[in-house]
Symmetry: C2
Subunit: 166 residues, 2 copies
Amino acid sequence: MTVPAPPEALSSRLGYLLKHAYLRLGEESAEALAPFEIDGRELAVLALVDAHDALSQLEVAGLLGVDRTTMVALVDVLEGKGLVERRRSAQDRRKNIVHLTPSGRTRLQNAEAARHELERRFLAPLGPEAARWVQALQSLVTAPADVSPSSRGSTAARPGAARPGR
Amino acid sequence: MTVPAPPEALSSRLGYLLKHAYLRLGEESAEALAPFEIDGRELAVLALVDAHDALSQLEVAGLLGVDRTTMVALVDVLEGKGLVERRRSAQDRRKNIVHLTPSGRTRLQNAEAARHELERRFLAPLGPEAARWVQALQSLVTAPADVSPSSRGSTAARPGAARPGR
DNA sequence: TATTGTTATACTCTATAACTATA
DNA sequence: TATAGTTATAGAGTATAACAATA
C-alpha cells in the first residue's frame, strides 16, 4: 500500500521516510518505464555504458554498487532484450565489455525522457526547491561517512571490514 | 561497499540516490542501535504502541505499512525480547493489543536517544538546512500521489491500467 | 459472511562459495 | 597466484493462500 498518511510517531523517522520515498518512487518508476519494458536499474546500466567507454561487467557493477553475480543476471536480461552485447576485451580476454546495441541506444534515449518526466512529477510537491533538495540528497550519499567524536566505522575503506552492506 | 562516489550518470538519478541513502542509513542505524539489540523497524513499533493507545497488531501494521503476516513475525521477535506483550482485547477477542512492557519502555527511551543522535550525524552534511530537507522529504511521502495526465495507480487494483509486459 | 491472527508457502532480491578461463 | 565471469545455492524480506477463532 505505502502511504496512509503516517502519524507523528513515524513522520519524523528518517528510516521510514527514506524507505517509503524509495518504494513510492519505485512504483511510479515501474509504471513510467513499463512501456519500454525496462526497469530503473537496467536503465542505469544502459546510461553508464553509454556515458563511459568500454566498461567491463565488473566495472559497471562497481559503479552501480551491485555484486558481480547480480551483474551477470542484469546483463543477461539486457542482452536477452537485445539492448546490449557482451564482447570479449582484446586486451584482457577475461573481461566482458558491455556494448550498447543500436536498439539499446534508442531505448535509452526514450526511456530517459520518460524518467526525467517521472522525476519531475515525483518532485513536484517541492516546487522550486526541488533542485536544491536533490543536491542535498547527493551530499548525503557521497558524504565522507562522518568523522565526529562518537566514532563509528566508515562505510567504505577499513581493512578487514567484511561489510554486509549492499 | 556503498558509495564509491557515483559518476555523473548516476548522481542525478533519484532512484540511485534514494536507494543508497536508504542503504547507508540502514547500515549506520544498525550500528547505532546494536547496543540495544533492536533494529529501526522494531523501534518504530515500540514508538507507535507507546504513542497511541491500545493498538492491535493489524493497526500497527497498517500504520507502519507492512503486511499483517510480517507483523506477526515482528511482534514475535519483540515479545521474545520481553519488550512487548500481546493481550486479547476485551471488546473484540479477535484482536491482539500490543502493550509495552516496562522493559520495553526503557529500551524505547534509550534507543530513541541513540536514533536521534544517529540522525543528527547522518544529516550533518546539510547543515542548518537539515530540518527543511526532512520536511520536504515528508511532503514527498505524503503527497497525494500525483494528479496530472498519466495518473499513477496504487500497487493494488486499477481497471484498464495498460501494463502490457510482465 | 467478514475480520484478526496465524501458518505454510512462494517469490524476489541479493550475497557467498565454488568452478572456468584467462592473466 | 590472482582476477573476470559464471553457476549453484542460500539467506533475507515480504507477499499470497488457507485455516481457526471470533464477530
